[in-house]
Symmetry: C2
Subunit: 157 residues, 2 copies
DNA sequence: GCTTGACCTCAAGTCGACTCGAAGTCGTAG
DNA sequence: CTACGACTTCGAGTCGACTTGAGGTCAAGC
């Protein structure tokens, strides 16, 4: 077994060493051992990191990703959870698609000002409506406490 | 002109008053005046807020959105910037689409473990590759300093 | 044996977009 | 006229995912 030192894992994974230590702290990876103070990783850490990257890319938090590994270290992924995340992605996709089309249109729209373009105005109403719906505006006037924003950041490419 | 107080704007926009104040601090909106200490808003603030919501939905930061308003208050949106953002959204969409398909597949994949499913493994390689490419791994070994992660959070629905 | 420099730990800082709490002001209903 | 409560300001706190810096350890090369 050739053990990898942190620099090697960093080089091969593209992640800085500080991130690897942070991931370890978060229970996402673990070194197979140490030489003195220095961490030694097995080659499988790279697959694990790919799995983490995959999860992050799909919008999972590090905490959620950590929960996807069984204590024995093997990925134990809940299929229902995957399906749910796929559905969430679908919703995001629909929203972003509409947004892209709107932007695309606005970019070439002949109206002198965006505010005079019907398409743009429609987009505007939609964006405003999403917000109002989320807070229950004009119904209760006050969102139930503790009901924090469920949206989670997804990172662009 | 009927002036709206902050509670009314909050109600109609679905945003908490604290957010409206914060937006003002960030130069996104401004009250038309005050009655005593209290802010009074014109009706146009709602359109403005819709514009802000739109921008946020498209992945712009508040800073960028603020820059989209000319000093006179009218939206002065750079069409090239819109097109660029639309392209960025397109890339994000492609990535998320692949991710969704992968998740969907993994959720129904008959392989006993995800690691034995070719589709899942392919997805894994892709996710790992993105990361490695971003940091220039295996080429320079070190990303040029100051070149911070350009990805920006997009919020799900 | 000594130096070098890659690694270590731990605490603190960063960023964006808000939210919260304390303490103060003020218009209006009674 | 007073009390109430909706507003105000300002500073600090939160969250997630890291990064940075100070100060310490240690294996390997000279």
């Amino acid at each position: 077994m050739k053990a990898l030192d942190i620099a090697e894992v960093a080089r091969r994974s593209g992640l800085p060493a500080s991130t690897l230590r942070y991931y370890e702290e978060q229970g996402l990876i673990a070194p197979v051992g140490r030489r003195g103070l220095r961490r030694l990783y097995g080659a499988d850490v790279l697959e694990r990191l790919a799995l983490v990257a995959l999860g992050r890319s799909a919008g999972f938090s590090l905490r959620e990703i950590a929960a996807m590994f069984a204590p024995d270290g093997r990925p134990r992924i809940d299929r229902a959870q995957l399906a749910a995340r796929a559905d969430a992605l679908d919703r995001t996709l629909r929203r972003l698609r509409a947004m892209r089309d709107g932007l695309r249109h606005a970019a070439v729209c002949p109206a002198p000002s965006h505010m005079e373009c019907p398409t743009f105005r429609r987009l505007l109403r939609v964006a405003g409506a999403v917000q109002a719906r989320r807070s229950g505006a004009a119904r209760a006037g006050r969102a139930p406490p503790g009901r924090r924003d469920a949206r989670r950041p997804i990172r662009e490419t």
